[in-house]
Amino acid sequence: MAIDYVVYYAEKLKRNPDIFVQQKELIESQMQSSAAFFSGLFGKDFKAEARAYLREVGLL
């Protein structure tokens, strides 16, 4: 029978909050990657360029 990784991880986490440390690393790594990507993508008029991008991806 295949392991349900969501349940497996949640069961582990429930008994061992040290696992939160790994979760923090994952979340912050993703945020840093995203910030680095977008800081290089737009020029001086950040908001205008960001809005153009957001329109393209359907978020605006």
């Binding site: 349940v7 061992n16 979760q23 978020l59």
Partner: protein
């Protein structure tokens, strides 16, 4: 704090035993402004992530009341002053029509696009959302205390209304982590309310 447990219930506040992440700090800074002006409820992905679900998110969904123009203007101006920009516009006057139309608006930190807070205006006509809005559960991580829906409601909403792969995994995570405190009678009580979504 009891050792070896991911959370505890302290005077009805769900206390999560972990350090704050950068995502938490972003949400905390936003909510600090929001709560000075209006009531709010953080829903969906951030609730699961706050409770340890190991995934990233670009949006933090927050229910807000469809407030009057004067209240919105004060909120918008303080958010702008605290370094948040709004995708939909740079002035309260320009963005307020979105609130009137119950359209979502998003805020991110200056010079960033993600993560963003997606504000979802609601009125009493949105029965399910209005119900959860009026029955907040407090969650706390370190010094950051915030409002979320009752856990049973959040789980059912993800399972019945949202239903995507990510949502079902979030619901499973919440069911597993909080299995000691979830109440069957509350699932029964909330299910018809959740199913009234959209009516």
């Amino acid at each position: 704090m009891p050792m070896g447990k991911a959370y505890s219930l302290e005077k009805d506040v769900l206390v999560i035993h972990r350090e704050l992440t950068q995502l938490d700090l972003f949400v905390r800074d936003f909510v600090e402004v929001l709560r000075k002006h209006i009531a709010y409820l953080i829903v969906s992905g951030f609730v699961s992530i706050a409770a340890g679900r190991s995934r990233g998110t670009e949006d933090v969904d927050v229910l807000i009341p469809a407030v009057d123009s004067a209240t919105f203007t004060l909120l918008f101006e303080e958010l702008s002053g605290r370094g948040f920009w709004c995708y939909q516009g740079d002035t309260a006057k320009g963005v307020y029509p979105y609130i009137q139309e119950l359209a979502h608006i998003r805020f991110a930190r200056a010079n960033q696009v993600f993560p963003n807070v997606e504000c979802i205006p609601i009125t009493s006509e949105k029965k399910a959302q209005y119900f959860e809005f009026r029955h907040p559960q407090k969650m706390r991580i370190k010094d950051f205390e915030f409002n979320i829906p009752p856990l049973e409601f959040e789980i059912l909403y993800k399972e019945i209304i949202l239903g995507g792969e990510k949502d079902l995994a979030d619901a499973k995570h919440l069911r597993t982590v909080f299995s000691d405190i979830l109440k069957r009678e509350r699932f029964k009580e909330f299910e018809p309310v959740v199913r009234s979504h959209g009516h």
